[in-house]
C-alpha cells in the first residue's frame, strides 16, 4: 500500500518519490557497462555493443553485416576479450584458506534493461557450445565468454545478487515514478522522472524520452524508423562496397555505419553513467555486504570450475539440476525480501501497511517468565505486549525477527487482539537473550519502548536430492528411451548460422 501510495503521489506532483531509504543492490566501484544492440527479426544477431568501465573509457563494437556468421563471431570474440579481461581482473585477490577461500571482489555488469540481459543470455547461449577447432571454428575466447555470460545471466535470476543487473531495475527499486512498471523499463522515461535534463520539466522530458530522435531506444532493439531510414541503406552500402572490394569505399561505408550506430547508442551510454552516479548517491543497505559475500563465493566457485575446464552449462536443466535451482531461487527470494524489510524502514512500512509486519509501543512486559523445554531445561520466555495502529494480519504462532532489537532477537506471536482502532499483540521472546537463566540486559523490550517485528524467513534445511547421475525413475525416461539431453549437444558444431540468403 505504501509503495502504491508513493506512485500515486509521484503522479500528482510530477516528481519521483523515494520508496526505500537504501540502495539494496551493491554498486561496484568499477562496474562494466554493456549496451547490447541486436538486429530486428534475426535470432540473437548482435548489431553492436558499447562497453566500458567508465564514461570516458568506452569501446564501440559494430557488426557491419549482422547476417554474416563470421562477422558475428568476430564481434563475439572482441566483446569477449573485453569482458574476460574485466572478469579476470577479479580473479586475482583471494582471501581465506583452502576450500573456503574466495575472491575478495566480484565483477558487476550493468545493462540498461531486462532486454539487455536477454540479449546477453542469447549471446551466451550462442557462444558457449562453440568449438575453437574443427569445422566452424571460432576464436578461443568465444566459448569461454559464452559460459561466463551464461553464468552471469543465471545469477541475475536469483534475488539479491548483483553481478549482472539492469539499471532500470535498480533505479525503480528506489524511486517511485508516476508511470507504470512497463514504462519504468524504459531507461529514458525513468530518468526523465528522476533527473530531467536541466531546464526541462518532467513532462517535457517524458515526451522526449519516447521520441526516438531525441532518445533512441536503449536497446537491444533499435527503432524501426532508424532501421528503415538509416541503418538499412548504410548496411546496403557496406555490402556493395564489400562486393566491389574497393578498400576506400569499404572504409567509408564502415565508418558511416559506426557513426550511425554510435549516434544511436551514445545517449543511452551517457544516461547509464548519470544513472550510476545517481545510484551512488543513495546509501547502501547494511545487509548488502553480506549478500555480496555470497556473490563472491559463487563467483569463486564458478571461476574454479572454469579453471578446472568444466563443461558448458546445459541447454536445459536436468530434473535434479532444476530442483536444486528452484530451491536456491526460492530461498534467495525469501531471504532478500526479509533482508530488505529488516534493513529499510520504508520497505518495512510497506509490509506493515499490508499487515505483514507491525510496529508499536510496548505496553506490558513479563521479563521473568520461564518455561520448561522438552529437554527439561528451564529457560526464560518473556512475554511482551505491544499496542499497534497497524492492521496486523499475522496469526498466533508466527515466528518474528526485529530490526529494532539487538541481533539474534527472536520472538513468536502468542496472541493478537483487536482493541478498538488498535491491536494488542503479545509475543513470546524466544531468542537473543544470552545463555543465562535471566535475559541479558536490553534483550527484552521494556514498556514504553517502540519496536517493530516482521516474520522470520527462518532457517530451512537445504533439500537433499538424489545424486545427479542417479535420476530416479519418476523423473527420468525409462531405459529404452534415450536421454535427450547430454551435457554438450551433439550437433554443437552443426549449429551453423545457415545460408545467408
Amino acid at each position: 500500500m505504501l509503495s502504491a501510495l508513493a506512485h500515486v503521489e509521484a503522479m500528482e506532483t510530477l516528481e519521483v518519490v523515494h520508496q526505500t531509504e537504501f540502495r539494496h543492490r551493491r554498486l561496484s566501484g568499477r562496474p562494466l557497462v554493456i549496451i547490447p544492440l541486436t538486429m530486428a527479426g534475426e535470432a540473437g544477431a548482435p548489431l553492436a555493443a558499447m562497453v566500458g568501465t567508465a564514461k570516458r573509457d568506452m569501446t564501440l563494437l559494430v557488426v557491419p553485416q549482422p547476417r554474416n556468421r563470421d562477422q558475428r563471431f568476430t564481434f563475439a570474440a572482441e566483446l569477449g576479450q573485453i569482458v574476460m579481461r574485466y572478469i579476470d581482473s577479479y580473479r586475482q585477490d583471494r582471501r581465506g584458506d583452502g576450500e573456503r577461500s574466495h575472491y575478495s571482489d566480484a565483477p558487476q555488469i550493468l545493462v540498461p534493461n531486462h532486454g539487455g540481459i536477454k540479449a546477453l543470455a542469447d549471446l551466451g547461449r550462442m557462444c558457449r557450445f562453440r568449438s575453437a577447432s574443427g569445422p566452424y571454428a571460432v576464436p578461443d575466447v568465444v566459448p569461454e565468454f559464452g559460459m561466463w555470460l551464461t553464468f552471469l545471466v543465471d545469477t541475475s535470476e536469483q534475488a539479491g545478487t548483483s553481478m549482472l543487473m539492469p539499471v532500470t531495475a535498480m533505479l525503480s527499486e528506489h524511486w517511485a515514478t508516476g508511470q507504470s512498471t512497463l514504462e519504468d523499463q524504459n531507461l529514458a522515461s525513468l530518468m526523465a522522472w528522476i533527473a530531467p535534463p536541466d531546464g526541462l520539466s518532467v513532462e517535457q522530458a517524458l515526451a522526449d524520452a519516447e521520441n526516438p530522435d531525441i532518445c533512441p531506444p536503449a536497446g537491444p532493439a533499435t527503432s524501426p524508423e532508424f532501421d528503415n531510414r538509416h541503418l538499412a541503406p548504410a548496411i546496403q552500402r557496406f555490402d556493395a562496397a564489400h562486393t566491389l572490394g574497393d578498400p576506400h569505399d569499404l572504409a567509408t561505408a564502415q565508418a558511416e555505419l559506426r557513426d550511425l550506430v554510435a549516434e544511436q547508442v551514445k545517449p543511452t551510454w551517457r544516461m547509464m553513467w548519470t544513472a550510476i552516479s545517481l545510484l551512488r548517491s543513495v546509501p547502501e543497505a547494511p545487509r548488502t555486504a553480506k549478500r555480496f559475500e555470497r556473490d563472491c563465493v559463487s563467483f569463486t566457485s564458478y571461476s574454479d570450475y572454469r579453471d578446472a575446464g568444466g563443461f558448458p552449462q546445459r541447454k536445459r536443466d536436468t530434473a535434479i539440476g532444476a530442483a536444486q535451482r528452484l530451491s536456491r531461487l526460492e530461498r534467495a527470494l525469501a531471504d532478500f525480501e526479509a533482508d530488505m524489510a529488516f534493513d529499510d524502514p520504508f520497505v518495512l512500512a510497506d509490509r506493515r501497511s499490508a499487515g505483514e509486519a507491525f510496529a508499536g509501543t510496548v505496553e506490558e512486559s513479563v521479563p521473568g517468565r520461564m518455561v520448561t523445554t522438552a529437554k527439561n531445561r528451564r529457560v526464560p520466555r518473556p512475554y511482551v505486549t505491544l499496542r499497534t495502529d497497524d492492521p496486523v494480519r499475522l496469526a498466533a504462532g508466527t515466528k518474528l525477527i526485529s530490526p529494532s532489537m539487538p541481533a539474534g532477537h527472536k520472538a513468536v506471536i502468542a496472541s493478537v487482539h483487536p482493541d478498538g482502532d488498535t491491536t494488542l499483540v503479545t509475543v513470546e521472546v524466544t531468542g537473543g537473550m544470552g545463555r543465562s537463566r535471566t535475559p541479558n540486559p536490553g534483550t527484552v523490550p521494556e514498556p514504553g519502548q517502540r519496536l517493530a517485528y516482521l516474520p522470520d524467513p527462518g532457517w530451512r534445511p537445504t533439500p537433499v536430492f538424489p545424486a545427479s547421475d542417479h535420476t530416479p525413475w519418476t523423473h527420468s525416461p525409462g531405459p529404452d528411451e534415450p536421454d535427450t539431453d547430454s551435457a554438450v549437444p551433439e550437433d554443437a558444431a552443426a549449429e551453423e548460422w545457415g545460408h545467408e540468403d
Partner: protein, 280 residues
C-alpha cells in the same frame, strides 16, 4: 557545469530536439542538416573524452573478391541453361544460382535472372525459333497457366515442364540425384574435387531426404556420401513417381490438344480459370 563535456552533451540534446522538431514539421532538408551537425558534435564528444583514446579500429580488410574465372564471359542465359541441364527439372532462380555457383565458374545473380525471364517470351514471340532454346516458365497441371516461379528449357518435353501436386517433391528428389551425381563425378575426377559450395548444396538437399545422411552424422557436409544420397532419393522417388507421371502425362495430353504452340511454351492465359470453374 564548466566541464566542456557537459556543455557538449547539452548541445547534443538541443540538436536532437531540433531534429525532432524539424522532422515533425516535415522539413527534411533542415533535419538532415541538423543530423550532420549532430554527427560533428558527437565526434567532438569522442575527441574530448580522452585525447589518448585509440582511434576507432581500422576497418577490417574485406575478404578478397574471387578472381574472375574463365567462363565468366558467357551470357547469363547460357549459365542458366547449363545449370538447368544439370538439374534436369524445372527450378526456381535461387536454386539455379545455387547450382551455378556450386559447379560452374562465372557470375550469375538472381536479379539478372529475373530480367532474363521477362525477355524470353518477348523474344520468342517476335521471332519464334530464332534461338536454339528458350527459358519458359513451368506450366500448372490443372489450368495450364504459367508457374512463373519456376524456369524450364523449351527443348524439354511438356511432361517435364508441367507441375502437378507431386512434382515439386519429385523434382526436388530428381535434382538431389543429379547434384549427387555431379558431386560424385567431381570427386572421382583428377581435379580439386567438389567445391565447398557443391558439398553445401548437396548437404542442403540431403538433410531433407529420409536416410540420406550418414548414420553417425557429425552434422556437416564433408561427411556426406553422394551414393547414399542417390539411393535414399531414389527410394523416396519410387513412392511418388507413378502418381506424378500420371498427372503430368494427362495434363500434357490436354495441353497438346487445347493450346497453341506458343501457349504450350509460355502457358495458357488466365482465362483458363473459367474452364476450371466449369470443370469443378
Amino acid at each position: 557545469m564548466s566541464d566542456p563535456l557537459d556543455a557538449l552533451e547539452k548541445s547534443i540534446s538541443t540538436l536532437r530536439r531540433a531534429i525532432r522538431d524539424a522532422s515533425a514539421a516535415g522539413d527534411t532538408e533542415r533535419a538532415s542538416e541538423l543530423r550532420a551537425q549532430l554527427r560533428r558534435a558527437e565526434r567532438a564528444w569522442d575527441a574530448l573524452l580522452d585525447a589518448d583514446e585509440p582511434a576507432p579500429a581500422p576497418p577490417r580488410p574485406a575478404p578478397e573478391a574471387a578472381p574472375a574465372a574463365r567462363g565468366a564471359q558467357l551470357p547469363a542465359r547460357e549459365h542458366v541453361h547449363r545449370a538447368l541441364m544439370l538439374l534436369g527439372t524445372p527450378a526456381a532462380p535461387k536454386l539455379i544460382v545455387g547450382v551455378h555457383e556450386a559447379f560452374f565458374p562465372g557470375e550469375l545473380s538472381a536479379s539478372k535472372l529475373s530480367s532474363l525471364r521477362r525477355d524470353e517470351e518477348r523474344s520468342y514471340r517476335s521471332s519464334p525459333g530464332a534461338r536454339p532454346y528458350y527459358l519458359p516458365p513451368a506450366l500448372a497441371h490443372d489450368l495450364l497457366t504459367p508457374v512463373r516461379a519456376l524456369v524450364t528449357i523449351s527443348t524439354w518435353t511438356l511432361e517435364q515442364r508441367i507441375i502437378g501436386p507431386h512434382s515439386p517433391r519429385v523434382d526436388f528428389l530428381t535434382g538431389a540425384i543429379r547434384i549427387a551425381e555431379a558431386v560424385h563425378t567431381a570427386a572421382q575426377s583428377a581435379g580439386n574435387g567438389p567445391s565447398p559450395e557443391a558439398l553445401r548444396l548437396l548437404w542442403r538437399f540431403a538433410v531433407n531426404i529420409p536416410d540420406a545422411m550418414p548414420k553417425s552424422a557429425s552434422g556437416h557436409e564433408s561427411a556426406l556420401d553422394p551414393e547414399q544420397v542417390i539411393e535414399a532419393a531414389r527410394a523416396e522417388l519410387d513412392v511418388h513417381a507413378d502418381a506424378d507421371r500420371a498427372v503430368r502425362a494427362e495434363a500434357s495430353r490436354r495441353a497438346r490438344k487445347s493450346l497453341s504452340d506458343d501457349q504450350q511454351l509460355f502457358g495458357a492465359p488466365s482465362q483458363g480459370v473459367t474452364y476450371l470453374r466449369a470443370r469443378a
